[in-house]
């Protein structure tokens, strides 16, 4: 058993810290947890390029695709540290680095790899992605999606609608799941994955402001959108299985990112407690607050341990399906507890709009507070994840 980082990883931690101090604006407190991308897109792209230049953006990819062949552990440490510092741009949208690249490396054609991987690896605007999975009628029951892709000669014609498509307004490409076989005996067996150029004719992106007025999500409408056949990823009608793999990659990164972000947020809130007086003494000397902070610290430790354990399982060659669900559910629960406790600590200030001058810690606590309900639903609701844990890990029978 061993819980320490090696020299390589420690060096990486230090390098990222240095990078952050040099590259980030003064008093930069990081992206808010509710924002899936930085509010300033230009700055985000700029940072993507810088991360690419440092060799970090796709560090765990093989060298032939522009990576460094870095280990799982280094990748995890990198994700934790950039989240800690709030460095934007690592995802290349939703998400070129986390799942699009890795899936293409796994089952893309040579042509696809040659075209898209360098775009992602370079950190440029043309490497930015959005992902089209959910539809108005297909949320948790994703396989019942309706967006149709019909083969016509050397291309497919796509009609339908996606929803909750984060960053569609900034993305160059869409990682799109469609239904290609309406007659499939099992709905999972009729789905296909495509790469769609967001500049294609027939695509309409309509902003979907969320419940606190921010624009992250969109509805994306596809009206007779023509997609070249060579944009089909993997095998026709096997898209569901590719999606499962992509989801596994998606859940992989969540753990380290949350661990890093919350480590930072904990420091922020502790600092706030030391600086803020209440009934004649700093908040940090108030018993109840001390206990809340201690609970938050333990939660942050748990996030870290879960992330590293997941990584360790990868190094063992495992496919950590259970741990992915466990980490997702736990991160969301911890975010809820943390945000709620921190909001309590902020007191009246917790109602300030994140962008208001009244907001403490640049509104990051409100961000977490407003964001956690969505997190508990997105990318697999807590209920679904717990059922997966029960059925997959504990062998309990299927339920609905």
């Amino acid at each position: 058993m061993d819980f320490k980082l090696g020299d390589k990883e420690q060096t990486l931690v230090n390098s990222i810290a240095e990078f952050a101090r040099e590259e980030l604006p003064l008093n930069w407190i990081g992206t808010r947890l509710i924002d899936q991308e930085c509010p300033d897109f230009e700055f985000e792209v700029f940072m993507s390029r810088r991360l690419a230049q440092k060799g970090w953006l796709v560090m765990s990819w093989p060298k032939e695709y522009g990576g460094q062949g870095a280990s799982h552990l280094e990748q995890t440490v990198y994700e934790m540290e950039i989240s800690y510092w709030g460095i934007p741009g690592a995802g290349m949208g939703i998400s070129g680095t986390q799942w699009v690249g890795p899936i293409l490396m796994m089952l893309g054609t040579e042509g696809q790899k040659r075209k898209y991987l360098p775009l992602i690896a370079s950190g440029g605007r043309d490497g930015y992605w959005c992902t089209g999975y959910s539809e108005p009628s297909a949320g948790s029951d994703l396989a019942s999606m309706q967006t149709r892709a019909v083969r016509q000669g050397d291309h497919y014609v796509i009609n339908g609608q996606k929803v909750w498509t984060s960053s569609a307004h900034n993305a160059r490409w869409c990682w799109l799941m469609t239904k290609t076989d309406a007659n499939a005996t099992k709905k999972h067996r009729g789905l296909t994955l495509f790469i769609v150029d967001m500049k294609s004719l027939g695509i309409t992106v309509r902003p979907l402001p969320n419940y606190y007025g921010r624009h992250h999500f969109n509805e994306v409408f596809f009206d007779d959108v023509k997609v070249p056949a060579e944009n089909l990823v993997g095998e026709e009608n096997r898209g569901w299985y590719h999606l499962m793999q992509a989801l596994a990659f998606e859940r992989r990164s969540l753990g380290p990112m949350m661990a890093g972000s919350f480590r930072r947020l904990l420091e922020n809130i502790i600092q706030h407690c030391k600086e803020t007086q209440y009934e004649g003494k700093p908040l940090s000397e108030n018993t109840i607050i001390r206990h809340r902070l201690a609970e938050m610290a333990i939660d942050v430790e748990v996030l870290k341990m879960f992330a590293f354990q997941f990584t360790w399982r990868l190094t063992q060659g495992a496919v950590p399906v259970y741990e992915a669900s466990r980490n997702k559910v736990t991160s969301d629960e911890i975010m809820r507890r943390f945000a709620t406790s921190a909001a309590d600590i902020l007191g009246a200030y917790s109602q300030a709009d994140p962008d208001s001058t009244l907001a403490k810690i640049k509104g990051r606590i409100q961000g977490a507070y407003l964001g956690f309900p969505g997190n508990m639903i997105a990318a697999g609701t807590s209920e679904v994840e717990k059922s997966i844990i029960a059925q997959f890990k504990l062998g309990l029978p299927k339920s609905y």
């Binding site: 748990v302 354990q309 360790w312 504990l394 299927k398 339920s399």
Partner: protein
């Protein structure tokens, strides 16, 4: 980064599990609750033969020389089995106290005796009004020639009735001092306390009990500060025991809900039940990781105080949650004395309160955050 046990640790775990499932079945555990001694001596002799009673003592003191991490692995299995008896108080608590604070001759004299099973030692340090903090300690030790005379009352001293020695804290002129008291010394009165977990706790009243100066453990007047480190390590050891218990609770629950049918289907197919089970599993993972990280740091000689408190604060609550969900999923049958579940839910409560509850440890964590 490595979350696995070593091959030897895996072997220890397996052999401990096999041994305990045959030698300390739940029927024995239930029996021992009403047994006067509270544990079967022949079982303890076998444990001595296996080297468990001195597992983490250095070999020169008759121990097995294993690490604290190894001890944690064994304790998980002990927690799973709900092993009755003074193992924790004697080997873990008293053993570590003597290891850390004892003089060379005290270590040479006592540790081999604990390891061989010849001697049982327990701690009698908690007082009626002192909570987990000893500032309000009332037990006094006055001098009389080359001896001390100890007068005071202690409560929650486990297995005091079978202990050959009691390690006791008392105030001398210079501060709090640790004394090794021969339990045969006149003036000691034991009264059993009836506890939920039937864990043989005692009130110990000292009435001018004569203790020779040479029986001081560690430095006079510095007892509490020295004991603090030991108590934190013991708290981590207790967490390992709790994790083992929680794991067994989950397995018991899952096995049951797969079999038990209502409305024509296994109750384990109801979402609410599945979610309870998932919550239990997550609580066990978190508890295990925090515990083992702290245990590893102790083994590696790294600073461990904050990790120890994090673990104890968390696991104290988590184990209780797991047993409650276990009862809830299994339902009526888990609420009879004959069922195994009450063994765990009662122990969960006792364990929470041993060596500092969540509130106590959260305050330590807060201090560790330099608030």
């Amino acid at each position: 980064m490595d979350y696995s046990l070593s091959e030897q640790q895996e072997m220890l775990k397996k052999s401990a599990r096999d041994f305990l499932s045959s030698e300390s079945p739940k029927s024995l555990v239930r029996q021992m609750a009403t047994d006067e001694k509270g544990f079967p001596p022949q079982l303890y002799r076998k444990m001595a033969d296996l080297g468990w009673l001195g597992l983490n003592f250095p070999e020169k003191y008759g121990g097995t020389g294993a690490s604290f991490l190894d001890l944690a692995v064994l304790l998980e299995e002990i927690g799973r089995a709900c092993l009755p008896g003074p193992f924790f108080t004697s080997t873990v608590l008293a053993g570590m106290t003597i290891l850390k604070l004892g003089s060379d001759s005290q270590r040479h004299e006592l540790l081999p005796q604990i390891a061989s099973g010849q001697t049982v030692i327990t701690l009698a340090t908690t007082e009626p009004e002192s909570g987990y903090n000893p500032d309000k300690l009332k037990t006094k030790a006055s001098t009389e020639g080359t001896n001390y005379l100890i007068t005071g009352t202690k409560i929650m001293a486990p297995y005091a009735h079978v202990a050959n020695f009691l390690i006791c804290t008392a105030k001398t002129t210079t501060g709090i001092t640790l004394f090794l008291v021969d339990s045969n010394t006149p003036g000691i009165k034991l009264t059993p306390l009836k506890t939920i977990a039937s864990d043989k706790q005692f009130e110990v009243v000292f009435n001018k009990v004569k203790v020779p100066k040479k029986n001081i453990l560690g430095k006079e007047g510095k007892g509490q500060a020295q004991l603090q480190q030991v108590l934190l390590k013991a708290a981590v050891a207790k967490c390992a025991e709790m994790v083992g218990g929680a794991q067994q609770v989950l397995e018991m629950t899952v096995d049951y809900v797969k079999e038990r049918k209502q409305f024509g289907v296994p109750v384990g197919s109801f979402q609410a039940v599945q979610h309870h089970c998932a919550n239990m599993l997550t609580d066990i993972d978190t508890s295990r990781f925090l515990t083992y990280q702290a245990a590893w740091k102790i083994s590696e000689g790294l600073p461990f105080a904050k990790d120890a408190s994090m673990a104890k604060a968390w696991v104290s609550d988590a184990y209780k949650r797991v047993t409650k969900l276990g009862h809830q999923c299994i339902g009526g049958v888990s609420l009879i004395e004959d069922h195994d579940m009450p063994l765990f839910s009662k122990r969960a409560k006792a364990a929470e309160l041993t060596l500092g509850d969540s509130d106590y440890h959260r305050e330590l964590v807060a201090q560790g955050l330099s608030l």
